[in-house]
């Protein structure tokens, strides 16, 4: 993997904090995930913080996980991504996705990594 990666997680309430805690019990964090909650910060503030981080790391690829497609966190992530091909947004975040990200981020190419994370997230949904 040639690109350096920055990863963010934006969720409603405390969900993201627990997802990160639980996934880091399962796999060592290769890349730290910066967590933002819409509970503690105004959406504009989150956008400002992440956008300035992105602007300061031009050679990086940036991945933004959000909980709910169509929710306010997803809207915000899409505004951050707007006109920036180095930013990708994945919604519906779950533990298998975060684990997949940590396991594969250093050994896969960027596009393949994004596909793999979404696939693994879907595999984690099962009905018997």
């Amino acid at each position: 993997m040639s690109a350096k990666i920055n990863c963010y997680l934006i969720t409603h309430g405390d969900l993201g904090e627990y997802l990160i805690k639980i996934s880091s019990n399962l796999v060592t964090n290769t890349v730290p995930i910066a967590f933002y909650s819409n509970k503690n910060l105004a959406l504009e503030k989150i956008e400002e913080k992440i956008s300035s981080e992105i602007a300061s790391k031009k050679s990086y690829k940036h991945l933004v996980f959000v909980d709910l497609a169509g929710g306010s966190c997803w809207m915000l992530a899409n505004r951050i991504k707007k006109n920036n091909d180095d930013v990708s947004v994945i919604s519906g975040v779950n533990i298998p996705m975060l684990v997949s990200f940590q396991v594969n981020c250093c050994r896969m190419e960027w596009e393949d990594l994004l596909v793999k994370i979404v696939e693994d997230g879907k595999k984690g949904i099962d009905r018997r």
């Binding site: 105004a42 959406l43 709910l68 169509g70 929710g71 809207m75």
Partner: protein
Amino acid sequence: MPIQLFRIDDRLIHGQVVIGWVNHLHSKEIILCDDSVWENEWEKELYLSVIPETIKARVLNTDHMVDLLLTDYDLSRTIIVANSPFTIESLIERKIPISEINIGGIHFKEGRNKYLPYLYLSEEEVSSFRRCYEAGVKFSCQDMPENKKIPLEKILNLN
């Protein structure tokens, strides 16, 4: 011209509206009334993209909203969403009779004070609500259908 739900929410269309209120009220249409979203094709597309295909949805600016509210278009299964009391004021100024508004959320931002977990207001917003109230608009705070309706006059001591 009864409107099923006229909502103020600074996050406009999001999960609480599309999942919570639409399902509760069995709404058939969502109208987003916002001048800045209306001017921005990208934002417009983004908001409309989150609405299920079974729900009719559109973005109108305030002028178009006024035009629509002056017709006899059936809004009895329609949710209208605006982002602040200023939009309501501007409708009132144009002689649109509005009786009841749901306040679904105006969230934390610098310069706003907390009134409810989902209601933070600046002094300008409080004044705007006051003017609307004096013009006869009833506001009730209720973020989700299952939560308690709280009259705004109680919170802001508008009486």
